[in-house]
């Protein structure tokens, strides 16, 4: 199965769940809140949009043809891509647990280590300097505190 068909299949299944489980719950909520005055309720647009995703997903599923020479293009280097996604996920978790500065320093250091940055002086300067600079810029100029303790 091609990557396009897999994508279409995932969204076809997701839109069926959306239309049969999630959207009907909205109608129940509307009825319980006495929203019957409006002839078009809160589920109208989600129903329409979900049906469009389903329709075009089905068309993609049945009309997509494999392109010669593009087999394997979707999965090329996917391991490194997944690793980067994992690093982003860990960074987001770290943001709420250990704070912006430590999480950012660890995130940058991990990328430079995993993807083997050649110049360690540049890598170390960026890993330490950039998070401090961004934190200071946001807090001092835009008055927005990032999560966790700061050095200033």
């Amino acid at each position: 199965m091609t990557a396009n068909r897999t994508l279409a299949l995932v969204f076809v299944v997701a839109s069926i769940v959306f239309l049969t489980v999630m959207v009907p719950e909205l109608n129940q909520q509307q009825a319980s809140m006495g929203g019957g005055f409006y002839s078009v309720g809160p589920s109208a647009l989600p129903t329409f949009a979900g049906a469009m995703v389903l329709l075009f997903g089905v068309v993609m599923l049945f009309t997509d043809r494999p392109v010669p020479g593009e087999a394997g293009a979707f999965t090329a280097g996917i391991g490194m891509g997944l690793l980067q996604i994992g690093l982003f996920g860990a960074y987001a978790l770290g943001l709420s647990t250990i704070g912006f500065l430590p999480a950012s320093i660890l995130f940058l250091a991990a990328i430079f280590l995993i993807y083997r940055a050649k110049n360690w002086l540049v890598a170390a300067s960026l890993a330490l300097g950039l998070p401090i600079l961004v934190d200071a810029l946001l807090r001092k100029i835009f008055l927005v505190p990032l999560p966790g303790a700061s050095f200033f």
């Binding site: 002839s39 891509g81 980067q84 982003f88 540049v122 505190p145």
Partner: protein, 505 residues
Amino acid sequence: MDPLFQALYGFAEPATFLTLVLSVVIGLIIGAIPGLSVNIAVALAVPLTIFMPTDQAMVMLIGLYGAGIFGGSVSAILLNAPGTPASAATIFDGYPMAQQGLSTKALRLSLISSVFGAVFSIGLLILLAPQLASFALGFGPVEIASLLFFTFLVIGILSGNSLVKGLFSAALGMVLATVGSDPMLGIPRFTFGSTALMDGLTYVPLLVGLFAVAEIIEEATRGFSQSLGKVDLSGEDRAANRISLREILGNIVPMTRASAIGSAIGILPGIGATIASFLAYADAKRSAGSKGNFGNGDPRGVIASESANNAVVGATFIPTLALGIPGDAVTAILLGALVLQGVSPGPLIFVNSPDIVYTIYFALLGSTLLMGLIGYPAMRMLSLTLRIPKIYLMPCVALVCVAGSYVARNNVLDVYVMLAAGILGFIFNRTNVPVAPLLIAFIITPSFEEALRQALTRSRGSFEPFMINPVALTLVAIVIGLVGLTIWRQGKLRSEKAQVERMGV
């Protein structure tokens, strides 16, 4: 105070003017770096604009937009790799010119034609937008809903190579926009009990994810390049790279033709600068006939491509300002930024906030002139940006993405939304599903839903007002025509491809 003078006063303030200069410089640099597109530059700047006054915010985003599109031609000419997709057609003649030792000349021609194209389309914007807006001021909910649904279909049909994929992307954008409180009853939709989702999915993390994070993941799959671009302009013959006024005047006709094509494409939603530059290139090649040396370093190739892609910049603002319909992904981002500033885009902006309209005009003109003034002497400096290895650049962009997504609402949930959008954008890029329709549909859906439900509540659920409305009927006819044209074009392409394959066998 008169809105024109109010806008001029705001524009001339040191902080605003400095912001414009900085954004033009940053736009030139980011546009020049392959992999960092204009969309990424503007997306990363949006979180900062939340804390700025409206005029400063608009100046910043517009400065990045115009300069970023020109910046894309630097790597297209010097490295045979466009910094932004809009400069892809510049490669055909820009790179051969560089190989002949005429890089500086190609870059200068590219800059001059970019400025020409941008000024041409800004003139058109100033002339057409108020007329279109005054026509649209008479629109009621039926016309507004029809127009927004027309946009939804047009961006789906015209973006990318596949009609189905474009419409699929737009439909998904519409689904995502339904998350949050219902606009009329306040019933929570698909919030899963989270109070943070009651306001819906915030558009800042969504656009940062779709454009910037998707590109970072893509770069990660290639292991983040560590190599330096080997570009050196110092050895070039200065006399051969000089451009005379006569040469510029001799190219006024191709520049005007390309600017007209770019402006026409820019007015239509969802097509964008990439298609405009290819169309203008094809037109220049056709009109030159046997006299042309296209594909082997003909300066008119660079001129056509760059005039057209920059002419899109001003023209995309015509539907954006007059109708509240974004012409491309960047104007969709700008539209969202305006909403974040508490300004309602659409025809009423000319009545309620004319100073903002003038600020946008000034910002477009100012950024174009600054781009010319800063860009012309800075060609060599710009070429140095190609030496920055991705291994140091992309992780820094990733950090800015996370910080930017967080500060939009001071909520870590938005960082997860950004990551999810990044994964979706990455998958879309790899499967050739266009991302722009998703973002544009996400931005116009709340207005569409509001207008549709107002219209249907008035008619007690009947669609009859839509069936007899002249605006709605005209738009339906246009959509049917576009669908027919697209299906015919795709069928023709398929049969041509099959013919080539048969001949190859």
